[in-house]
């Protein structure tokens, strides 16, 4: 469960995020939708404790990102924008490294990796060096890395970027399965169809502000538009940066 209360962040003169509030409940997939530069990544980075908010706070399972960032990090799995892996390590070693950083003992970490490998269907390349992996393989490995400590909350920043159609389908199936297991999933995207297909709840963000939130159905009626696309364009106020 992630709750965000009036989070703000400015970089010099640029107000990247202005008083963003949202809530992502367990067992739901919440989509953060907005055009490029709307403040999605900055919001997620603050949730991941990578950035410190200027004001407001985010609460993850009752822990504040500002006062107890390490407790928050135990409770979240983060898939960052660039799913960087260590090229000289195998996929398994990449995942095990993060298990160890989370303080999971070796025995437990090994069985956890086997579990995740089955779930994400990565057994085939698990013991290959990640140098030369395809985008899809990299994403799955990074996802396993983010899930290795069994976090209840999953934060994904533009996870479908650079993936082919099959990989996107796989990711979708996987996120649906994680939702069924009761995880709280928050992901950002600027691809409307993706959000429409996957999300239970949508938070529309533009120019650092939340402009609308709710189920897709609710958003459509709120905007008074018959199609999703028209509804989003109306909510955001411009068609720029959407696709």
């Amino acid at each position: 469960m992630i709750t965000v209360n009036a989070l703000s962040k400015r970089f010099g003169k640029v107000e990247a995020v202005r008083a963003v509030s949202l809530s992502a409940p367990d067992g739901r997939i919440t989509g953060l939708l907005g055009p490029n530069g709307a403040g999605k990544s900055t919001t997620l980075r603050m949730l991941a404790t990578l950035l410190r908010p200027d004001s407001g706070e985010a609460i993850v399972d009752g822990q504040s990102t500002t006062t107890s960032p390490i407790e928050v990090r135990r409770r979240i799995g983060v898939l960052s924008h660039a799913s960087g892996l260590y090229p000289q390590l195998t996929a398994r070693e990449n995942i095990l490294y993060f298990a160890e950083l989370h303080g999971i003992d070796r025995q437990q970490a090994r069985s956890r990796v086997s579990e995740l490998a089955a779930l994400l269907e990565i057994e085939e390349f698990l013991d290959r060096k990640t140098k030369g992996f395809s985008q899809g393989q990299r994403l799955k490995t990074a996802l396993a890395r983010a899930l290795v400590h069994g976090p209840r909350n999953l934060i994904l920043d533009e996870p479908t970027n650079g993936l082919d159609v099959m990989a996107v389908r796989n990711l979708r199936a996987l996120l649906t399965r994680l939702r069924e297991q009761g995880h709280c999933i928050l992901f950002s995207s600027h691809v409307m169809q993706e959000v429409a297909l996957l999300c239970d709840e949508v938070v529309v963000i533009a120019q650092g502000r939340v402009v609308a939130a709710g189920t897709i159905e609710a958003l459509r009626s709120q905007a008074g538009e018959p199609t999703l696309e028209d509804a989003f364009v109306k909510l955001i106020g411009t068609a720029e940066g959407l696709n």
Partner: protein, 393 residues
């Protein structure tokens, strides 16, 4: 603590698989170090020989006026080349580097000689010529002076005077240098090589762990690990330190082995570089590795890419090593200040070990203490850098 060790082990293992890093840490110093050392020794030895025994040619004008003098010169490997220049031509020939020097014997030489009057000869040379003209002129004038002394003594004997009475004071030059102190230049080179190889051995790891991590995009994920951020960077610095120590240990060992094959004693030099001395060399320079690793990590943390880091770190490495090149020339004496200056203090301690001298405890404490203190401050600073948001780039 456990987190630091996890990061350390991962960096250590991962970089062991990177060919570039492995090459710089394990091959550069240990292989090139002894080779450079041997080459420099060889050059300095052969240059020492060159100034003396090499035969030289001497253009002489008017050689026919002093056949005995010419014979004496020829006997000393100075090959005489008769010329017929006037003074103007001599000056031009030296200016155009056709010849480096010339000896002119005036026509009245034999006449004055016969009358026991001072017979003049002239040596033309360019004293600003660094390529041998000056040194050759010296050699010729020494030879002529010796000949002149010899003749004057013979003349005294002929007149019934004991030549010894003309030498009220005699100077004996006594060379107190030991074979070890004559090897001092080679020693300086060895300490420079060891320290350079050490820093270079950790350079690529320092880059990879900081700028590389960010460039690959793995930094964000790493920073979401549930541990204090400074611990992450302490682990990385520890891995860099380990690579530096390994690199230096291998370089010192390789140099010790190589020096067994160079018979320095034949050149009047000796180095004590047995197993115990090698171990001591390693021990006194090890604290510098902590400082080096901290320094390179801090510098690399400010850079935005692997490439940028590489150019800055190459410069950062020369900072502690360059002074060592000049230190031998400057004749700096070890003082408490110098002994608390990192890299200089290690250099002096290594020199002492190689010369087989005893090490003073205060020197050891100053040297290790200062390096570890500054190293510690740099590590702390690196930790602070990773708490800044700007580290995400």
């Amino acid at each position: 603590m456990r987190g630091i060790f996890t990061v350390f082990r991962k960096e250590f293992v991962e970089n062991l698989r990177d060919r570039r890093i492995l090459l710089s840490a394990l091959v550069f110093g240990p292989v090139l170090g002894p080779l450079m050392l041997a080459a420099v020794l060889q050059i300095s030895v052969s240059r020492g020989e060159a100034t003396f025994e090499k035969p030289m040619t001497l253009p002489v004008i008017g050689a026919e006026h002093a056949p005995n003098l010419i014979a004496t010169l020829e006997a000393q490997d100075i090959k005489v080349e008769p010329r017929t220049f006037n003074e103007q031509q001599i000056r031009e020939a030296i200016a155009t580097r056709e010849i480096t020097l010339a000896l002119r014997i005036p026509p009245d030489f034999a006449e004055r000689w016969a009358r026991s009057e001072p017979a003049a000869v002239e040596i033309f040379a360019d004293s600003s010529d660094q390529f041998g003209g000056d040194a050759s002129a010296d050699r010729v004038s020494r030879a002529i002076r010796a000949y002149s002394r010899q003749v004057s003594q013979m003349r005294l004997v002929l007149r019934g005077v004991d030549p010894v009475s003309t030498m009220p004071v005699v100077i004996h030059d006594i060379d107190v240098s030991t074979p070890a102190s004559r090897a001092s230049f080679a020693l300086g080179l060895l300490s420079y090589l060891a320290i350079f190889a050490m820093l270079f051995g950790g350079m690529y790891l320092a880059i990879d762990a900081t700028a590389g991590e960010r460039e690959r995009g793995s930094l964000e994920a790493l920073l979401t690990a549930p541990m204090p951020r400074p611990h992450l960077i302490y682990g990385k610095i520890a891995a860099t330190t380990a690579y530096m120590l390994i690199s230096m240990a291998l370089t010192l060992t390789a140099c010790a082995v190589a020096l067994n094959y160079v018979r320095l004693e034949e050149f009047g030099m000796s180095l004590s570089m047995g197993p115990l001395a090698t171990l001591k060399l390693f021990a006194v320079s090890a604290p510098l590795a902590v400082l080096g690793a901290g320094l390179l990590t801090v510098v690399a943390s400010f850079t935005r890419s692997f490439r940028e880091a590489q150019s800055y770190l190459t410069f950062a490495i020369s900072l502690p090593t360059l002074p060592l090149v000049f230190i031998g020339v400057l004749r700096v004496e070890p003082s408490p200040l110098i002994m608390s200056t990192p890299s200089l203090s290690q250099h002096f301690l290594m020199m002492k070990i190689l010369r087989g001298e005893a090490l003073a405890t205060p020197d050891l404490l100053y040297s290790a203490g200062a390096s570890l203190l500054i190293g510690g401050i740099l590590c702390w600073f690196a930790g602070r850098l990773y708490e800044r948001e700007a580290i995400l780039g």
